[in-house]
């Protein structure tokens, strides 16, 4: 790209560009190749650490060190790490907890968030600007800074070491961005639609219910920016709900890694088991997610 630019004789001094017929077929072709090479380089960089862990988790210990870059084969194959993880860890309970926490949080984030976004984007009323601003503060200020008092609050509500405590925090944490994204989407919905509903005598609640399916494209963006951080959070599980019964997968893996730090097979297998579900989910939804993000959900 750089090279091609150099050969273009434009006049940077005046800022005026003139037409040169120098970009022939071959240069275009090679530039396309260069772009691909760059993209391939960065993609490999993104993929390689995960692939490395994945490959080596299926090898016997001595081959992990001896040939880290070799694919497992009949001679080096071993599942001992997975056996250790399944026997010694709580990962299945952790999975269950993570799934409960994430889905329940997401459900309420979407429900409460879409209700608030509907009110803020669909009606002009006194205090609209105030509520819009008030609910947006949380996008910038991390909830973590309130950990000290959250902990006290949770313990006075008797919600420490419960998934409910975690869920409530995640709902509060997820709402600001969700409301922001959904408001943007809902503002794009043509007013005629709602007016038509009103003429038919539908209640405002009914109209909300009609509008709701129309923001489906925004779900991908919310998934990426709200759900993934909940699934991956270490902080609140560590502080609010660290017990064995309530530990989420991220905390469970962290503790397992701490305990089995010198058992390489177990460590690699645990990493793979923690990575695979979220990766599958991502690969499955990535097109939708990215489309949703790029469709203008985050336009300021």
């Amino acid at each position: 790209m750089k090279k091609a630019g150099k050969e273009n004789r434009s006049d940077p001094g005046t800022g005026k560009c003139r037409l040169y017929f120098t970009r022939d077929y071959f240069r275009k072709k090679s530039r396309g190749l260069g772009k691909h090479l760059l993209l391939i380089f960065f993609s490999v960089l993104a993929l390689f650490p995960i692939a490395l862990i994945f490959m080596n988790s299926f090898k016997q210990k001595k081959f992990i060190f001896a040939h880290p870059f070799a694919l497992p084969n009949a001679k080096t194959f071993s599942l001992v790490g997975y056996h250790t993880v399944i026997e010694r860890s709580n990962l299945f309970v952790n999975f269950e907890n993570s799934i409960i926490v994430t889905t329940v949080s997401l459900f309420f984030i979407l429900l409460f968030g879409s209700m608030a976004a509907y009110a803020l984007s669909g009606y002009r009323f006194k205090g609209n600007s105030f509520f819009t601003f008030y609910l947006a503060i949380g996008i910038m200020i991390p909830i973590r800074l309130g950990t000290a008092s959250l902990l006290k609050l949770m313990s006075s509500l008797g919600l420490v070491n419960t998934l409910t405590g975690l869920i409530l925090i995640y709902i509060a944490q997820g709402l600001p961005l969700t409301i922001f994204i959904l408001s943007n989407f809902m503002a794009q919905i043509p007013g005629e639609l709602k007016d038509a509903g009103r003429i038919d005598g539908a209640s405002e609640y009914r109209i909300y219910w009609l509008v709701l399916p129309l923001v489906r494209p925004a779900l991908g963006a919310i998934g990426i920016f709200t759900m993934v951080p909940i699934w991956n959070d270490l902080w609140f599980p560590l502080i609010i709900a660290p017990s064995a019964k309530t530990a989420t997968i991220t905390l469970g893996v962290q503790q397992f890694l701490g305990q089995f730090v010198s058992d390489w097979n177990a460590v690699l297998s645990a990493l793979v088991m923690a990575v695979v579900p979220i990766l599958l989910l991502y690969l499955f939804f990535s097109r939708q997610m990215i489309k949703s993000v790029t469709s203008g959900a985050l336009k300021a």
Binding site: R88, I100, V104, F107, F108, L111, L151, K152, M154, S155, V160, N161, T162, L163, T164, I167, Y205, W209, L238, I239, I240, A241, P242, S243, A244, K245, Q255, G258, Q259, V261, S262
Partner: protein, 419 residues
């Protein structure tokens, strides 16, 4: 809408209710290496006697234990039984009301005053943890490597350095398996391991407490100098080598010497495929008195906020019996019971460590009693400072003199010894 709401309600209820049949006690600990021993030996033995109590051993890695425990206590999420570090760390927990008073626990009389000394209030009236074990510092060595290279077990510091040099020259093995990445091992397994020979054990420790000795004095500077002199013999990239890396390096037979303590016996005997030997910290001249760190290391207290105080006390009471003393000391070889029960140790290495008590003078780590109280405002305390400076000295980013000055300056700021 209604359906959705009731589904949501159902989900919330489903989440917040747990079935409870048996009482479950959770044990907080930093001994993640002992996970299997607790799961396979200690807990089954207890549950056999008390079938309606279920015990879960839930360790956190040593370097994170205190921070995580404090946060759990603060939030009321800590387990029912809490493994207690000796002296001030646990005393502070007791004073803040996190640890229950166990003075009247039946079976407490199975421990001597000395054994209890690390878990009592300053006036000696209240005991807040059942002493479990002490650990003895020293060096492990790979007998096979020593035999192969024709090396003698070093007694003096000069001999120690000669051994290191010989291993290095041979080139096949790392002379000392140790890293500085986690920092605590440089302080605990380095500084507190070899230091007592320089500051003459208890004599030096008491002098620090009285304020008649300072970290800028010769014995301390000398200890850091000795640590710094190990640097060329550490594994490549030792600045990023963690505790678990060093353990692994040694058990894989790739290193000759491992500075540590008796608590490693169990792991090493399990993992190492070679003959293990031990030797006490080397002295200046042959025949000098050897001072060893025989540290009252570990005890179990009860979370004052536990919902099952009766069951937790039953467990603690069981821990005062000779059954537990024998089970624990033999299962976790290298942790020596602090109780008065006469038990026999089967492990030869553990017996060898124990035999040093007859020939050497014992002391404990000098940063644990009183001196790490600090100003309680979040500034690094003595123990944290020792981690930082010992690692920095070994990394070559700080001189021993700078280390001594930094540590003493911080100490002087708040510690005014009674004259």
């Amino acid at each position: 809408m209604k359906n959705l709401l009731s589904l949501a309600l159902f989900l919330l209820i489903a989440v917040s209710t747990f079935g409870q049949d048996k009482v479950t006690l959770t044990v907080e600990s930093w001994r993640n290496d002992d996970l299997a021993i607790w799961a396979d030996q200690i807990i089954p033995a207890f549950e056999k006697k008390y079938p309606n109590i279920h015990v879960v051993f839930s360790p956190t890695p040593p370097a994170e234990y205190n921070g995580v425990l404090n946060s759990k206590l603060e939030g009321g999420t800590a387990g029912d039984l809490i493994t207690a570090r000796p002296f001030d760390a646990s005393l502070a927990l007791y004073q803040r009301g996190y640890l229950a008073d166990l003075t009247t626990l039946p079976g407490m009389n199975n421990f001597s005053a000395v054994a209890k000394s690390a878990w009592v209030t300053d006036d000696g009236k209240h005991v807040f943890a059942v002493p479990m074990a002490s650990v003895i510092h020293g060096f492990f060595y790979n007998k096979d490597i020593f035999k192969k290279l024709n090396l003698e077990v070093p007694q003096t510091k000069a001999e120690f350095m000669q051994v290191l040099e010989a291993v290095k020259k041979d080139g096949r093995y790392v002379p000392i398996a140790m890293g500085t990445a986690d920092m605590w091992e440089t302080a605990t397994m380095g500084f507190q391991n070899i230091g007592p020979n320089n500051w003459k054990g208890e004599e030096g420790r008491q002098a620090l407490l009285k304020g008649t000795a300072k970290f800028t004095d010769e014995p301390y500077i000398k200890t850091w100098e000795e640590l710094a002199s190990w640097a060329p013999y550490l594994p490549r990239g030792y600045q990023a080598v963690k505790y678990s890396d060093a353990q692994q390096l040694f058990t894989l037979g790739k290193a000759a010497i491992y500075p540590a303590g008796s608590w490693e016996i169990w792991l090493f005997e399990k993992d190492a495929a070679f003959d293990l030997g031990i030797f006490p910290p080397p002295v200046d001249r042959k025949g000098d008195t050897v001072y060893i760190s025989d540290h009252t290391d570990i005890a179990l207290g009860m979370n004052a906020a536990t919902r099952h105080p009766d069951e937790a006390k039953k467990f603690l009471e069981w821990m005062t019996t000779s059954e537990f003393a024998s089970l624990y000391s033999n299962a976790v070889a290298g942790f020596f019971t602090l109780s008065n029960h006469r038990i026999t140790l089967k492990d030869p290495l553990a017996n060898e460590f124990l035999s040093w008590r007859k020939t050497c003078k014992s002391t404990i780590r000098n940063s644990y009693q009183i001196l790490s109280r600090g100003d309680q405002f979040g500034a690094p305390n003595l123990e944290n400072d020792l981690w930082q400076v010992s690692a920095a000295v070994m990394n070559g980013t700080m001189t021993p003199e700078e280390a001594g000055k930094l540590v003493q300056d911080h100490l002087d700021k708040w510690y005014k010894p009674a004259k």
